[in-house]
Symmetry: C2
Subunit: 169 residues, 2 copies
């Protein structure tokens, strides 16, 4: 019978843990990087755990959902602030459209933007430790749009490590 | 050096897969079961993948998010209808409150209900294969409320296997 030495399993486990811990910081996501910050769409983000939904009124008129990687969710559940390096948050947004089947409800229409925040306190030291990426159809928005990210977060949610979204129980 | 026989790992793997496949059908969730259907809150549902957010207008005035177990998500991604036995959908709902930090946004307030749909085509043959559970603070709502579930789903979304929510890309 073939056997796998425990030491090999242990080393593989350590490597995997190390890879997971550094992936969000080091590993490029897919597609083009955002201007200023060099943030890419992280792999597999659509499978991440829900932090909270939200709605944005006109003129954007959107339904939104913020998802977080494992490090983000652990920090939220533990109430850890500031968020640790490696935290990644992704906000998905869709047009807010009336449900054709149930009058009082509004549901997601076409996808609009995907917005990413990556915590790396050294790389992004001048913007609260956060790098930002705003993507439309998988392509980063222009530099002018990225210039507005941090100033708004800084003005409004500095006391929550520059993150708007709270965990919805 | 201690070694783990591969056969042991393989058997453990099969057991785990079997347990996972049958869990949604057989394993009770936690807490009290819903009237009529005997549906409980499934273990770990808050970690499940997002199907879609939604908003419900007054008088309920809620933000919502539907999460699905692995079988549900696979069916959604593959476009499988009807949903296979073992599919579980959970809708979380919160009061829709204005963000104190960003004018145009509404965010989740207090949690209101958690609503569960469980697919078991034999057990729930008379209600389209679905069992329903509606929970408030972890306790099932009364029988009268559960009498309304299927009739509404049947009247409005029979052509989508009695499920309102579509997968938000």
């Amino acid at each position: 019978m073939k056997r796998i030495p425990l030491a090999v399993l242990a080393v593989a486990g350590v490597s995997t843990a190390f890879a997971a811990a550094t992936a969000a910081l080091e590993k490029p996501g897919h597609g083009e990087a955002s201007p200023i910050y060099g943030v890419t769409l992280p792999e597999g983000y659509r499978q991440w755990e829900l932090v909270a939904p939200a709605q944005e009124a006109a003129p954007l008129d959107e339904l939104r959902a913020v998802l977080g990687n494992a490090m983000a969710i652990r920090a939220y559940r533990a109430g850890t602030l500031p968020f640790p390096d490696g935290t990644v948050l992704v906000k998905l947004a869709w047009k807010h459209v009336p449900s054709p089947e149930f009058g009082p409800a509004a549901i997601p229409g076409a996808a609009t933007t995907v917005q990413v925040m990556v915590k790396d306190s050294r790389k992004y030291a001048t913007t609260g430790g956060w790098g930002f990426g705003r993507f439309i159809d998988g392509k980063p928005a222009d530099e002018a749009q990225h210039r507005t990210c941090f100033s708004c977060h800084q003005a409004r949610v500095k006391n929550h490590d520059f993150v708007f979204t709270r965990f919805a129980p």
